[in-house]
Symmetry: C2
């Protein structure tokens, strides 16, 4: 059994998920999303760090996964996305968690069967795979998808950031 | 007396400085720079967080200052810069430090007398103002300049990020 925390950092909303995986069986433990827009921007940025630190303390995951950067053409968006990623990666690294990185296309291909899947297909499929009722918030669903993607590809030599304490 | 930690985050090198200020007198406590390039990029990113956490524990600053973002046209540079800023801001916020933000032009104008000053002028002037011998590494000199800029402008209503614990 491996317990995985997955993060989908965004310049506005960051999705977070925790699952357990054993062979091809997945168990849902947590999913949620955080907003990081607003006046006290840096305070909310720190919330990402604190939230992820809290979740790692609570769930004691063994490994972490994060979405590889979708390269915006807008430098300001990229900066904000970078800040959110920096906060998330620091929180994971502080726990000594190895962090793997997966492109969005691979996450969609793994969960839905096609890299061109839209958000609603990801929402539907992660819900079905984890036996969840009701509609899952889109960024939290992406994080669940990243967690499942990592569960499946964790032993293949795909982009590993290599965070170690 | 106020003790200030200042950070000049960069996508490759992050400058850090600690000074004490009392009226118009400044005392140098620390300056240094960290490289964040390389293979285990996220590990080095976490080094920014850890280094700043260590310095705040050691020097117990009262306030923090950071350089406002120089907006790159290159989205990949902006992303990396954002990640470094995210790591730095989280470390400062974790200590409950208020973080003020200053544009590079104001730092240069405050330290050298002109917003168009080049790096060597900043290096020379912060050395002279703090009574330091020898050449100071450019990013560390920028961080010292940000610290002095904050010492002078800290009571004026200039860009305050407003991080509070």
């Amino acid at each position: 059994m491996v317990r995985i925390i997955a993060i989908d950092p965004g310049s506005v909303v960051t999705g977070v998920a925790v699952i357990e995986a054993e062979r091809q069986r997945y168990r849902h433990l947590y999913h949620g999303h955080l907003r990081v827009k607003g006046d006290a921007w840096s305070e909310r940025l720190y919330c990402i760090f604190r939230e992820i630190s809290g979740l790692t303390a609570e769930y004691q995951p063994h490994e972490a996964a994060i979405e590889e950067v979708f390269m915006s053409k807008n430098a300001m968006s990229a900066l904000k996305l970078g800040q959110a990623r920096g906060a998330a990666i620091c929180a994971l690294a502080e726990q000594g968690l190895p962090v793997s990185e997966y492109p969005a296309r691979l996450v969609k291909k793994t969960v839905v069967g096609t890299g061109a899947a839209d958000k609603s297909q990801v929402q539907h499929m992660v819900g079905a795979m984890l036996g969840l009722q009701g509609k899952i918030q889109a960024d939290a669903a992406d994080a669940l998808g990243i967690a499942i993607c990592h569960a499946i590809h964790r032993n293949s030599p795909i982009h590993r950031l290599g965070v170690k304490k």
